[in-house]
Symmetry: C2
Subunit: 420 residues, 2 copies
């Protein structure tokens, strides 16, 4: 087995946990990602909302394994898998032979068949997505300051977030804080305190994966921040002019999408069944049906708990699956019996702006300031490396003390003229 | 004069100094910039070379004046000036009437009539320029790791910097450190220590604005870092394949441009004479000839010292000019005699990688470690705000102690496939 070659596609939470746990196993590993960095997605919304800088939540993957000579990191875009030849095909023409393949390729946002909404309502999955949303939010205030038409000014000062899961709630909360607390003193022709932030959710409550009591608290916290929450009606149209919700059309120039995800094409590459969101339906040991040497983990895998509920698409689940596959590979090497994957739910956290959060650890449910501190400490703990922990803690402390966000940069375009 | 309206175009060093110095003058000020941020350009090369993050050296302009209700900040792109109607024309159709106009619109890189070189040899003037160079440098190493053709691999591992002024020297020095010290342990198929970093200069020595003794020291420091310096021959061709220098063609996939600057079109807007680099030739009081209410300052103005030498295009000169124009405006309000602009040279600093720098304060000339500390302290001192000073000091300290750069992110593109 010394020459066993594990190819891992995807350097997210699941892929990294797997590579970490294979340390010392005497296995040659190739880790492929189409990005050069691992991204701490739970804090991505803070880049989109000018709180954190890109380099505070992303790390070059190859640096993480500089001390592991058996790990080769490749920047590469997978175009397919030849399971017969046991090979991964890369778009640059390179081919990677594997003995064991692990697909941990994640998910991206989905528009339920309305991909034409994407340009006007960008989602939040990559660093570029985050700087795009940041640029659009900041530019809307800038344009409102110079707009002469009142209707246009109102649309520029209306921010719509679609989808009230954790990302949508967090985005809406921080945009409201930005408009109502951070920016008012800086504009002369507009009153940013009058900006509307509207959170739209087709379902009956915000943060629907939490118990109703905590959803109610989150709704109240959102209202306190000045977020208008629209529940129970789906968005039926989304254009550069605004959003149609039921009978009502709301003019807006800044729409963000946090409503749906679509798995990566892992199932397609393997030619195996997928669920409605495109997730590969895998066996109890996370292998692809009929392909014992191929594992699928994380957001791109559809796995059921014993209760019959699906394993949620969250970072802890991906990490547990990465750790599990490492155990299976270890067990196979030693000829032992591979275990069965069991998801252990460690609790859920969500935050709503400064000082408000909810936490659900099964029997213990928290809301308010204590939950917010737990949220902050947990997120700093899960960041990679001393430097990032210090940097994020420092950024948060600074904002907490001064109220001033530090990453309020409009970038990516040459001039505002290009925007039009 | 209570209703006197000063329009300042450009939120660089000159423009900000002027607005700062007009505090309490009872004058209405509008500050226009096509970016939403002031950029600390002297450290921009550190963003390009993965040392600093974008938000550490850029600040939202309007935040700097949140406590000055008489200052209005506008994000706008100037398309022209109507000196007859005393109006600035913006590309979005807005028109700004002025009583006094100050153009502080800076300069950009110039290719001496070979604008076709720009796509293959990007310059370094904006945050996007910096992230572009960062992306290209990091991608070259990534591609070399997977390249199968040895000639292609060599070209990918050859980094050419054109122009040996401070920016070119700093860029070449840090790229060499990155290749020879930071990255070697992270790649499996290539030896980044064998990467070539070539600094090309048409003139006879590096850092030609310094005395020859300090240039000699800088050359030695560059050689110690493993930078190949080619002096005395201009680049005659620049393509995606590489660079022609005299008889020699050097294959390279990563070329950076630090060779020339071109002033903004301020002179054209005003219809006044310009020098060869496009700088508006102004009067001794920095007004445009025949336009006593229009000042031109900073990199876009051509001003002579008493010695007959031109005022250099550096941050301290722009700041002095901004302060001077504030004095003239004050003097005019009080009916006093306006002064004549005199440039005071405060010294020159340049750094060459870790622990090497040169400093020229007239009679006192320094090189080596002490100059490097002075350089670092001076740059932290001139940053805006406590937060940035701490953040940059912390980033530098971290790199100094750990040798690890923190901002090694490839961004701006969806996947590497888009690059091709």
């Amino acid at each position: 087995m010394a020459d066993h070659h594990v190819v891992v596609v995807g350097g997210g939470f699941g892929g990294l946990q797997l590579v970490n746990d294979l340390k010392g196993a005497g296995i040659r590993i190739t880790l492929v990602d189409r990005r050069n960095h691992h991204l701490f997605q739970p804090l991505l919304y803070q880049v989109a909302t000018t709180i954190l800088s890109t380099s505070e939540i992303a790390w070059p993957i190859r640096h993480l394994y500089s001390d592991r000579p058996e790990v080769t990191t490749l920047l590469g875009d997978v175009s397919g898998v030849d399971t017969g030849a046991k090979s991964v095909l890369l778009r640059d023409g390179n081919v990677l032979r594997y003995d064991t393949l692990v697909l941990a390729t994640g998910a991206t946002h989905a528009y339920f068949g309305r991909d034409d909404w994407e340009p006007v309502a960008p989602g939040l999955k990559t660093l570029e997505d985050a700087t795009t949303i940041r640029r659009r939010v900041l530019l809307a205030f800038e344009r409102a300051e110079t707009a002469s038409d009142p209707a246009e000014r109102d649309a520029l000062l209306t921010f719509i977030v679609i989808g009230a899961g954790p990302t949508g709630v967090e985005l809406a909360g921080i945009i409201a804080e930005l408009a109502h607390k951070t920016l008012p003193k800086e504009f002369r022709n507009i009153d940013t305190r009058k900006a509307r932030v509207i959170l739209v959710e087709a379902g009956p409550r915000v943060l629907p994966t939490f118990v109703p009591e905590l959803s109610d608290y989150a709704l109240k916290a959102l209202n306190d921040l000045g977020v208008e929450v629209r529940l129970g009606k789906p968005v039926t149209e989304c254009t550069a002019e605004g959003v149609q919700i039921g009978e009502e059309f709301i003019g807006s120039r800044t729409i963000s999408w946090a409503a749906g995800v679509q798995a990566s094409p892992a199932a397609k590459w393997l030619g195996i069944p997928a669920d409605r969101a495109g997730r590969a339906v895998v066996e109890k040991d996370l292998t692809a049906p009929g392909l014992p040497d191929v594992f699928v983990i994380g957001d791109t895998a559809s796995v059921m708990q014993e209760s019959g509920a699906p394993v949620p698409g969250v970072a802890p689940a991906a990490k547990q699956q990465g750790a599990f596959v490492a155990k299976v590979i270890h067990a196979r090497m030693k000829g032992g019996t591979p275990p069965v994957f069991k998801y252990r739910h460690q609790g859920s956290l969500a935050t709503i702006g400064r000082s408000a959060a909810i936490a659900d650890f099964g029997r213990i449910k928290l809301k308010g300031g204590l939950a917010w501190w737990i949220w902050g400490i947990a997120h700093i703990y899960f960041l990679i490396g001393t430097r990032s922990r210090f940097a994020v803690a420092w950024s948060w402390l600074w904002i907490y003390l001064s109220g001033q966000h530090s990453a309020r940069l409009i970038t990516q375009r040459e001039t505002i003229a290009d925007e039009k």
